[in-house]
């Protein structure tokens, strides 16, 4: 494992350095003192590459990433995993807005709360199925325009009966599935989604993914699974089909 001290390094120089080290054959990289540098790990490829980040990476971490595993020891900012193709990003804290934007594969696991528009326009393609799991609460527009993939919200940071979802949940959704731990107030749902009970297939998927999530964050599987989940799917695959023509 090689260590790179990112302190005071301009983001372009830092990313150039990271790519250089990967090209030289380094597969395990530890970034120290990261503070706000943008575009870290963008576009990097390789299933066997692992990057650990200490500090707060700037926006667009792991955008267009294809294969690597990136572990954030603390929080992340906005646009994490933007249009990600494959790989895994693990965040040991909160994230900002618009993470997993147009994500088309890979996994994004967030331990605590997430902001607005998470998983907006997530989509799958053939055997690529993007997955986002949020351990805490999420802001408005969760899964907006979702076209595929799996988005799971656990709400473990919620106090008492505070809602774990915001408004406009799944607005414009036309593919994929949302699993929300606990019940969902229908008034918070977008017009394009409907709630369904979980079937055997859903339960298997959840168990597998939650097991992985719990391993990554040392959480209690049984406690998480002790509450019933709500499943949300799109009512139609073309919700705006009649918008301009009858």
């Amino acid at each position: 494992m090689i260590e790179i001290d990112a302190k005071g390094i301009y983001y372009r120089d830092l990313n150039r350095l990271i790519r250089k080290k990967i090209k030289e054959g380094n597969k395990d990289i530890y970034l120290k003192n990261v503070k706000g540098q943008y575009y870290i790990c963008d576009g990097i490829r390789g299933d066997d590459i692992k990057v650990i980040i200490e500090g707060i990476p700037g926006n667009d971490l792991g955008a267009f990433m294809d294969g690597p595993t990136v572990i954030l020891k603390s929080n992340g900012q906005d646009n994490i995993g933007n249009t990600m193709t494959s790989g895994k990003i693990i965040v040991n804290g909160i994230v900002g807005d618009v993470c997993g934007y147009a994500m088309r594969g890979g996994k994004l696991f967030i331990k605590e709360d997430a902001g607005y528009r998470i998983g907006i326009h997530m989509k799958g393609y053939k055997n690529k199925n993007p997955i986002i799991i949020i351990g805490g609460k999420a802001g408005d527009f969760l899964g907006e325009y979702m076209a595929g993939g799996i988005l799971i919200l656990l709400g473990l940071t919620a106090k008492d009966n505070e809602p774990i979802v915001g408004d406009y949940l799944g607005t414009g959704m036309h593919g994929g599935v949302l699993y929300i731990r606990g019940s969902v107030d229908k008034s918070k749902c977008g017009k394009e989604v409907e709630t369904k009970k979980l079937n055997k297939g859903d339960k298997k998927i959840l168990e597998k993914l939650i097991t992985e999530f719990c391993e990554d964050f040392s959480l209690n599987f049984n406690e998480i699974m002790s509450k019933e989940f709500t499943k949300l799917i799109p009512k139609s695959s073309r919700p705006y089909g009649a918008l301009y023509a009858k």
């Binding site: 503070k35 706000g36 990476p57 900012q77 607005y116």
Partner: protein, 372 residues
């Protein structure tokens, strides 16, 4: 410099860019400007070097009961003309050039001078004999007059014991130019902007101020035209060709003139959707309906994150669907705000709590009651 204040330069667009930072110590404990400069520097790429600025509160303790006017002038002739006007309308306790380090920026700069003054109340400025003119109103009129009628002069700060420092340049250049590390404030805001359609002019940088309000903004106020016409009814003159100006005057109108609470003012500027008002019971239902109907022309449309400061607090709030980022951090009696989390970690290495607030909940921080 300032010559670019032409009408066709109206198309100043702040797109997703702009960097915002803010901090307040609720006990009124002051810090030097170095830390805000460092924090804003992290957001350097959110600006394009065509505008940056800072504001701080508590920086003029020796003149704390006087209005501290910061003016920029295109020429000595305009300075003389403006000073004639000021002498007639104010009692100037002290005046001096604003200390600057001209080597810090690559370009020319306006003449920058500050005045510690109070208004003369018996002048011809009163509209009607029976109208009780308060000091603040008099000051606002003086500012509007200068900004509108003296071409090449612009009042860019006017509060008591506070000051804004802004211009065309990158945030660290402007910080060094105005030597902000030599000022100590208990509230600081900093901004770097990303205008695309104009070469940028000194008055167009944020923060926008009026009396002790200082506003910084990331976004676009698409309701500018409506808000402008509404404000003009109350005597505000919009001369600065930047949409953010309306937010400044709206806050002044709602909070200082109409005596509404900060929370109510935020509710007016970013009102809840009708569908959400319908979900409320009375008296909230009625109250919110009234606000929307009376103050419809005061609501801001468009994506935004706005920080505004005043002598007793700092507020951060978003448009209703949060189309711009806003992050808060706290540690003991200090509160930090930015549109990027890492800027908060520059202001405070180990915050107690960091979170992104919900759009409909403005973050309103005030000095503790026992602080004077």
């Amino acid at each position: 410099m300032m010559n670019n204040r032409k009408i066709f330069d109206r198309g100043i667009r702040n797109i997703s860019g702009c960097g915002l930072v803010g901090m307040i110590n609720k006990n009124g404990v002051k810090v030097g400007g170095e830390i805000i400069k460092k924090s804003l520097y992290l957001l350097n790429d959110r600006g394009n070097g065509l505008g940056a600025g800072y504001a701080a509160y508590g920086i003029y303790p020796d003149y704390k009961d006087l209005y501290a006017f910061h003016l920029m002038y295109d020429s000595k002739k305009i300075l003389d003309e403006t000073e004639e006007y000021l002498k007639k309308n104010c009692i100037i306790e002290n005046k001096e050039m604003i200390p600057i380090n001209p080597k810090a920026i690559n370009d020319s700069h306006p003449i920058l001078k500050r005045y510690f003054l109070q208004p003369r109340l018996n002048t011809n400025e009163s509209i009607h004999e029976t109208e009780k003119i308060e000091e603040d109103d008099q000051i606002v009129r003086i500012i509007m007059n200068i900004n509108e009628h003296i071409d090449g002069a612009y009042v860019f700060s006017s509060g008591k014991n506070m000051g804004a420092f802004k211009g065309v340049g990158f945030p660290s250049e402007i910080a060094d130019f105005f030597k902000i590390d030599e000022y100590e404030g208990y509230i600081w805001v900093g901004h770097t902007r990303f205008p695309t359609n104009t070469p940028g002019w000194w008055g167009g940088a944020h923060p926008f101020t009026l009396l002790d309000w200082a506003i910084i903004h990331n976004g676009e106020i698409s309701s500018y035209g409506i808000n402008k016409r509404y404000l003009e009814m109350f005597g505000y003159k919009l001369t600065l060709m930047t949409d953010t100006e309306v937010a400044t005057y709206l806050l002044d109108l709602l909070i200082r003139k109409h005596k509404l609470s900060i929370k109510t003012a935020c509710t007016i500027l970013a009102p809840p959707f009708w569908k959400d008002i319908d979900k409320c019971d009375n008296p909230d239902n009625n109250y919110l309906k009234k606000l929307r109907m009376v103050y419809g022309s005061a609501s801001l449309n468009g994506p935004f994150a706005i920080f505004f400061a005043h002598k007793r607090g700092l507020v951060g709030f978003n448009d209703r669907v949060k189309l711009r980022p806003l992050v808060i951090g706290t540690k003991d009696e200090s509160v930090y705000m930015s549109n990027e989390q890492s800027a908060i970690y520059v202001l405070c290495e180990t915050p107690d709590r960091v979170w992104t607030p919900k759009a409909s909940n403005p973050v309103i921080v005030s000095l503790n009651e026992n602080v004077n």
